[in-house]
């Protein structure tokens, strides 16, 4: 009986204590336990990948190890810093500064090489130093399309290019979970409560073709080296859809070294840099003159090599050349400034300004890249002195390369301009298409017959005019050269610094490519026809082969006979 009683008493005491712990103080103790055992975990998403138009990877994620310190576990920070700093390649003060940034956690080095990780591990400071695996952005093609793709920062945030403009799509959503850790620091999965599921970033398919981009960059680099130019840029687009096939800027940088590169090289110059277009602007002048009906196509203008303009200025043609009586086609073919100035005068400020705006100059075209410049188109009231005449041949306004190409799409789309774009599709982690871009008409600038007439003028420029070096055997090329003087720092124009460019569309009819090549301050020969047109030919001829665009006529051989097909042994 005694035993029974004792047992009952003991059980009663236990039951009462249990009730006290579970019922009376249960809530408070539960919270206390959660604070001690559970920890919030950020579930990081993987950043979306970037592919070219054929699914070739241009930006991927790889694992990288980061090193952190536990400042609360470090007894002597000076000694710790003195020991760790030489291994990390940092100063002692730098390490101490990092230690001061947190009580239990402080980054020492982010996303470092495996060799450095091994050297730090060899220090045997497991209590004071820890290692974390993180995603690191990698660009397997190195500098290919560096300015266009851009790069991501240390926290995988987009800092430039597509990485920046599509940050919301690529980044994904961070998830959160609460979980307990066991004595060895491992997450106890059965205790994990997911508060928000992480969502990986979506993949992006660009309109860029890796091979076309490579051809464009290779030829541009060669031209910059050959001409001694400060740099250059080139853009290749599909004029029937507005898709950018290649966009290159030289000199480039390696996005794998990201922020370490020269900041000036980050600039995507075809989009961000507005320059005076020079003579390529004449084709838009002619389009305006024809479309408005102010100047009939058969009208002739006399070029005596110079032309007195308002404000007491005398406009001259390059080299003082006298072209005599010319039609509008011949003005384009010979790139005659005097003739263009007369056409502009006939057109008038208001009409010309109307068409300049209709072609999209003076405002961003809306390309899906960051940092787009609107260019500069002053209002007609600010066209003082010979403003109307100089703007007629591309001096006094500033445009970007992408604006010129966008305006040129009107010439092959019955007067309708297409919005250029670089992202053709977005797909989720399972490969399902979630968004797609396509041909988007920005507006109609001119009538279809005007577009055809201007295109014909451009064909004449490459056939027998200033752009003959852009001719490609077997294909009809429409193009226009430009040699723009660069503004001098003290005002006016610098007689020694030029921007040589060529804008072309090929093949005519049924165009597949439009390209603009610009060389910045070439030395020696500096005209667009001499230095930029050959680069256009080199790029476009190879791209046409790559795209399997057959020539309209069989290319002529040096002997004039049928081309000899190389033997199989020679075509390896």
């Amino acid at each position: 009986m005694l035993m029974t009683g004792l047992l009952l008493v003991a059980l009663s005491v236990l039951a009462l204590r249990l009730a006290q712990l579970q019922v009376i103080e249960g809530g408070r103790l539960h919270q206390l336990a959660q604070r001690q055992q559970l920890e919030a975990i950020a579930l990081d998403p993987h950043r979306g990948l970037i592919f070219d138009r054929r699914g070739r990877a241009l930006a991927v994620n790889v694992d990288a190890t980061s090193i952190y310190a536990v400042p609360s576990a470090i007894a002597d920070r000076q000694a710790f810093a003195a020991r760790v700093a030489p291994v990390l390649g940092q100063g002692v003060d730098e390490v101490k500064r990092r230690l001061a940034s947190g009580r239990h956690f402080a980054w020492l080095a982010r996303k470092v090489s495996p060799q450095l990780v091994a050297r730090v591990r060899a220090l045997g400071m497991a209590d004071e130093i820890g290692f974390l695996t993180e995603d690191k952005r990698a660009y397997p093609n190195g500098p290919l399309a560096a300015q266009l793709i851009g790069f991501a920062g240390i926290d995988n945030q987009g800092l430039s290019g597509v990485e920046l403009s599509y940050e919301q799509v690529l980044r994904g959503t961070v998830g959160r979970a609460i979980a307990a850790r066991d004595g060895r620091g491992r997450v106890m999965v059965e205790t994990q409560q997911v508060l928000g599921t992480p969502q990986d970033g979506q993949d992006i398919l660009l309109t860029i073709d890796q091979v076309i981009q490579h051809i464009t960059e290779r030829e541009l680099i060669a031209a910059v080296e050959r001409t001694g130019a400060k740099g250059g840029w080139a853009v290749v687009i599909d004029p029937m859809t507005g898709e950018i096939l290649a966009m290159a800027t030289v000199p480039a940088f390696n996005p794998n070294s990201g922020p370490d590169a020269n900041v000036r090289r980050w600039v995507n110059r075809p989009v961000a840099e507005a320059q005076e277009p020079g003579s390529t602007f004449k084709i838009f002048l002619m389009a305006a003159a024809l479309d408005s009906g102010v100047v009939p196509p058969t009208e002739r203008f006399f070029c005596g090599g110079s032309l007195p303009a308002p404000g007491g200025i005398v406009l001259r043609d390059a080299g003082g050349r006298r072209h005599g009586w010319q039609t509008m086609s011949e003005i384009v073919k010979n790139s005659c400034n005097v003739g263009a100035a007369q056409v502009g005068t006939r057109l008038g400020k208001a009409q010309f300004f109307h068409y300049i705006r209709a072609f999209g100059f003076g405002r961003p075209v809306g390309i899906d890249l960051p940092g787009e410049s609107a260019g500069i188109v002053p209002p007609p009231s600010a066209w003082l002195g010979p403003g109307l005449q100089t703007i007629s041949f591309g001096q006094g306004v500033s445009t970007t390369a992408i604006q010129l190409l966008t305006a040129a799409t009107a010439l092959v789309n019955d007067g309708a301009m297409l919005r250029p774009f670089v992202v053709r599709a977005v797909r989720d982690h399972q490969g399902r298409l979630t968004d797609a871009a396509g041909r988007q008409v920005l507006g109609r600038a001119i009538r279809p017959d005007t577009a055809d007439a201007v295109l014909e003028m451009m064909v004449g420029a490459t056939r027998t005019g200033t752009g003959t070096q852009a001719r490609i055997d077997g294909y009809t090329v429409a193009g226009k050269t430009a040699t723009a003087q660069k503004p001098a720092r003290q005002g006016g124009y610098d007689p020694d610094r030029y921007l040589a460019s060529f804008l072309g569309i090929v093949p005519i009819p049924n165009p597949r490519l439009a390209a603009l090549v610009v060389l910045d301050e070439p030395h020696g020969a500096y005209s667009g026809g001499e230095v930029a047109a050959p680069v256009f030919r080199q790029i476009v001829s190879q791209v046409l082969w790559y795209l399997r665009v057959p020539p309209a006529v069989q290319p002529a051989t040096p002997s004039g006979g049928v081309p000899r097909i190389p033997a199989a042994a020679g075509t390896r």
């Binding site: 035993m3 029974t4 047992l7 009952l8 059980l11 070739r56 990877a57 241009l58 991927v60 994620n61 790889v62 694992d63 695996t133 990698a138 397997p140 093609n141 190195g142 290919l144 491992r186 997450v187 106890m188 999965v189 059965e190 205790t191 890796q210 091979v211 490579h214 290779r218 490609i472 055997d473 077997g474 001829s541 190879q542 082969w545 057959p550 020539p551 069989q554 290319p555 051989t557 040096p558 081309p563 097909i565 190389p566 390896r572």
Partner: protein, 154 residues
């Protein structure tokens, strides 16, 4: 003359208890020992607790298995990402061109070395395709009908 029917009446009768064979004899009840009962009760109370502990242990063990599998997935995903980066770097056109030029001595063809060969449209007919029999025509018509049925309507 009407006569009243005599009413029947029921009177309660207290009957003596019937001896029941199902009841435990009082003698046996007094002999029951409480300890086994308490032990049995304790076992009944403890058993669910033991089952709970076993379940929790199993859950923890499964949790560690899941954790291991997750780490395995992460390792494989990282390896896959590394391989993707490597293959992309190996396929870089710049690298391929460098090897083609430097190691294999290849050159970019000049325009005169590239020819587009026009394939004449009636080439198949010229190759001497035998004329179709009635059955061939019927089969072709049937296949075309099937194909037409599969086409989306315009």
């Amino acid at each position: 003359m009407l006569a009243l029917a005599p009413r029947s009446r029921t009177y309660p009768v207290l009957l003596p208890d019937r001896p029941s064979t199902e009841r435990e004899p009082a003698r046996r009840r007094t002999r029951r020992r409480p300890l086994p009962t308490i032990m049995a009760l304790a076992v009944v109370a403890v058993l669910p607790a033991l089952a709970l502990v076993a379940q929790r242990t199993e859950a923890a063990r499964t949790g560690y298995v899941i954790l291991g599998l997750r780490q395995q997935v992460e390792v494989l995903a990282a390896e896959n990402a590394q391989l993707l980066a490597t293959t992309s770097a190996l396929r870089a056109p710049d690298r391929i061109e460098r090897i083609a030029r430097a190691d294999l001595g290849m050159l970019t063809p000049r325009p005169q070395q590239v020819a587009a060969l026009a394939v004449p449209a009636p080439a198949l007919a010229a190759a001497g395709v035998p004329s179709l029999t009635v059955w061939d025509r019927f089969a072709a018509w049937f296949v075309r009908s099937e194909a037409a049925a599969g086409e989306p309507s315009q």
